[in-house]
């Protein structure tokens, strides 16, 4: 029973014919769209390596059936940078040494991007750790990861801080 779904991935609209409804979003991204940045760790929603943004929210791609996503928008690690300019979370992971082997890193970064847009952690490292607990790092780079999320959060709020414009009392958002 072949059918097709439309899926926008990293800004690119796709019409995807599915010959088998068993395909997960993770397998669709990796095997059919060749976006292998999203990793398969446990494939059971326990490790977070497959974290992507679905309609702007972080989810586990391994537990999501592609067939149910008609009309959705997905952002993966490949869609984060603006050309050669890294996303602030990517830059912070490098600056804070938030990785060792790197296998969990795309999931960690996508999860951190989701965390920062959810806006529940503030600058509290304990809240960052709790809200990143769905991403396991076997190398144990958690200290650098937590630091990276906190620093990226600061960098993003600096970017978004209103810059007073000349002749304007209220200023203007730079973002």
């Amino acid at each position: 029973m072949p059918f097709s779904i439309s899926l926008t991935v990293n800004g690119q609209p796709n019409s995807i014919a599915l010959d088998d409804p068993r395909v997960t979003l993770l397998d669709l991204l990796r095997e059919r769209l060749h976006l292998t940045g999203t990793k398969k760790g446990c494939d059971r929603g326990q490790c977070g390596a497959c974290t992507v943004l679905l309609d702007g929210r972080r989810i586990n791609a391994c537990l999501t059936l592609a067939a149910s996503l008609d009309g959705s928008t997905v952002t993966t690690i490949e869609g984060l940078a603006n050309g050669s300019e890294l996303h602030p979370v990517q830059a912070a992971f490098i600056a804070c040494d938030g990785l060792q082997c790197g296998y969990c890193t795309p999931g960690q970064i996508m999860s951190a991007v989701g965390l920062l847009s959810e806006g529940h952690a503030g600058d509290d490292p304990e809240r960052v750790r709790e809200l990143m607990s769905g991403n396991i790092c076997r190398c144990g780079a958690y200290q650098g990861i937590t630091q990276a999320v906190l620093e990226a959060g600061q960098a993003i709020s600096q970017q978004n801080r209103p810059v007073p414009a000349e002749g304007s009392e209220n200023g203007r958002s730079a973002a």
Binding site: P21, R22, R58, L65, A67, S133
Partner: protein
Amino acid sequence: MNRFDFIRPTSLADAVAAGTSPGSVYLAAGTNLIDLMKIGVTRPERVIDISRLPGLDRIEWLPDGSVRIGALVRNSDLAYDKRFAAAYPAVAEALLSGASAQLRNAATVGGNLLQRTRCAYFQDTASACNRREPGSGCDALQGENRLHAVLGWTEQCIATHPSDFCVPLAALDAMVEIEGQDGRRELPIGALHRLPDAHGATESVLAPGDLITGLRLSESTAFAAHARYVKLRERTSYAFAIVSAVALLSMDGDRIKASRLALGGVAAKPWRASAAEAALVGQRATREAFERAATAALGDARPSGDNAFKITLAHRILVRALTLAHQGTPKVLPALPASPFPDPHSPAPKGDLHVA
């Protein structure tokens, strides 16, 4: 994963009609179902995708102060809804203590109610399990069972219900709205899940085709100021409860006017502790009164294997939940929701966690 037909109905009536056929399952987010399909525990012939059904993703406040939560509302959307979290703080705390942020963004209210046990023998298709295959036996009875049930179990099944969300829902007598072959009906959450009996281990009273469409919680302002959920896990976060407890108190000075108490991780359903509630009526909120309530809550508890320690733990966690609830609902949810350990941002309540 076995092959299946994928069906996407556009109306509730079509969904129920499709779901009534033998071998059908409903798919919402799939955070539990897809996992079980991957390991071969659930082998549906037809998957009915209800995730796009209209009108089931809303939180509606009704004129009498009650709230109706659509079955497709995501766990995180409910927990972070400001009005909901203020009215039902222990429910929000329970939701945020469950799973991970990614899973909470996907998992739905209806799916949470119907999630399956994490008993390892249920998940292992080579093991005997009366839940997975009625009549095959229960390998957990003689197996690795330190985390299994201590209340309401039989030799047929010693599994526990894994949900955190359902524990405060049981305490608050949430009503479950169901659409079925014969139309709409509702039942209290206490009547949704079934305990195992001498013959089998049917998980719920739902019939083929029955679809949970929403939940209703009655107005409960009286309990909002003293409401806590406490959950003991084998790691700090992202783990199921070994035992958990919700305590809701309505205070009149230092006396308890009324309470609502329930335990999680101890039985095949969220366990309402009615005897303990009765024991607290009119009592002063003291450690001794909390101890007596916890003793009443666990009067019928007995180990189902190597898990006698869970009875002691459940007692302590209920006392802890009562102590924290009496101290008052925190203005800001702790960094580690439902953690039994002191919040670094607020002083620990009096009363030692480690003394029964």
